[in-house]
């Protein structure tokens, strides 16, 4: 009887340990992913994405916040999913900001080239007179 009881207790302990191990194996990547997404949001912010890609930026911030809440509630699956989505949103926001800035620079340069070319044409026109 005692042997059977001991055997049951041992099995319970094993199950509990496995459960804890499962919990621990879910917690580490979730924490890492949330950290990654926090960094992604910070990078996008410093790239000016708040102004240049406000919708993606808003989405990334909101998901990061919810990921943090899930982490606090030990809902690691949700935390990880939200963190991954927040990262994707932040990266998109950052790349949008980058492409917008580069496009504006290119447009500005084209504008100045047009002005220079007009000036050149004027110079040539006057020197031919």
């Amino acid at each position: 009887m005692t042997t059977i009881h001991h055997r049951y207790a041992g099995m319970c302990a094993l199950v509990a340990l496995l459960g804890l191990a499962a919990c621990a194996s879910e917690k580490t990547p979730a924490v890492a992913d949330v950290a990654v997404s926090r960094q992604a949001v910070a990078n996008a912010t410093s790239a000016g994405a708040a102004d240049l890609a406000p919708a993606e930026m808003q989405s990334a911030r909101e998901k990061l916040m919810r990921a943090n809440q899930a982490l606090a509630a030990k809902d690691y699956r949700t935390a990880q999913d939200l963190a991954n989505q927040a990262s994707a949103d932040a990266q998109l926001a950052q790349s949008k900001a980058g492409s917008t800035k580069a496009t504006m620079a290119a447009d500005e340069l084209q504008q100045s080239i047009r002005a220079l070319r007009e000036e050149l044409n004027r110079t040539n026109a006057t020197s031919q007179q």
Binding site: D81, N84, Q85, A88, D89, Q91, L92, S95, K96, G98, S99, K101, A102, T103, A105, A106, L109, Q110, S112, I113, L116, R117, E119, L120, T123, N124, T126, S127
Partner: protein, 301 residues
Amino acid sequence: MKTRSLKTLRLVPAALALAVMAACSTTPTTTSLLDQTRADFLAAQSTPSVAANAPLEFKAASDALDSANAAAARKESLSEIDKLAYIAKQKIATAQEVAKQKQAESEVANAGRQRDEIRLEQRTAEANQAKSQANQAKADADAARAQADAAANSARSEAARNAALQQELADLQAKQTDRGIVITLNDVLFNVDRAELSAEGMRTVQKMADVLLQEPQSAVLIEGFTDSTGSADHNLQLSQRRAESVRNALIGLGVKSDKIATRGYGEAFPVASNADAGSRQLNRRVEIVLSQNGAPIANRH
């Protein structure tokens, strides 16, 4: 009987499995988000600049879509498929944006080069303009100098001509008067009581003609005078003939006839008393009045 029922029991799960497989093959699991993501991926794939300019991002997007497709193939829950599809969709968009950025950056680099070229062209054009302006200025200066030289030359030749003219007039004993330059041909140049010029008279008239030919704008008035000996009528005619004789001589030497006017005054306007032979000789004379620059000659009165 027993074997038969066992056989039937064995067949039922197989049929069920077949039915499930059939259902699986006719309705593959997908979501509208996954469909949308696949379309986005195809669009990115057919944009050459995405693979060229954002290879890493495109690979990441491709891997993310593979994960979503695998989840759909494994018939995972729709929310699980959507989660993966969402990530893939965002990554595809990111690849597009990165490609766009790289393209704009290469445009910037290109435009920078273009701008430098135009600036160089501009400087070249300005330099050419400055050079052509300098050349023009030099040409202008050269022309001005040439003009000044020509003016100086013509002034010199004018001065030389004037000097020669003055010399000739001096040789003719010309006198500057209110009416113009007056040259007196005295009696010695005519034979006595005749209108024809002596050889000496012809030489003097020749000099006169030289002056008139050099001064095309000049005109002359030839005035004849006599002494008081003889009748007034005869003297008037003689003075007239002598003036005409000088005129004809000048015309014979090439002076235009319309520039020569003649007048006979007879014994009027004596320059000496007529009391002795010397004085009378002074009165027998022809005076040539030379107007310069076409000014009219005032009449004697």
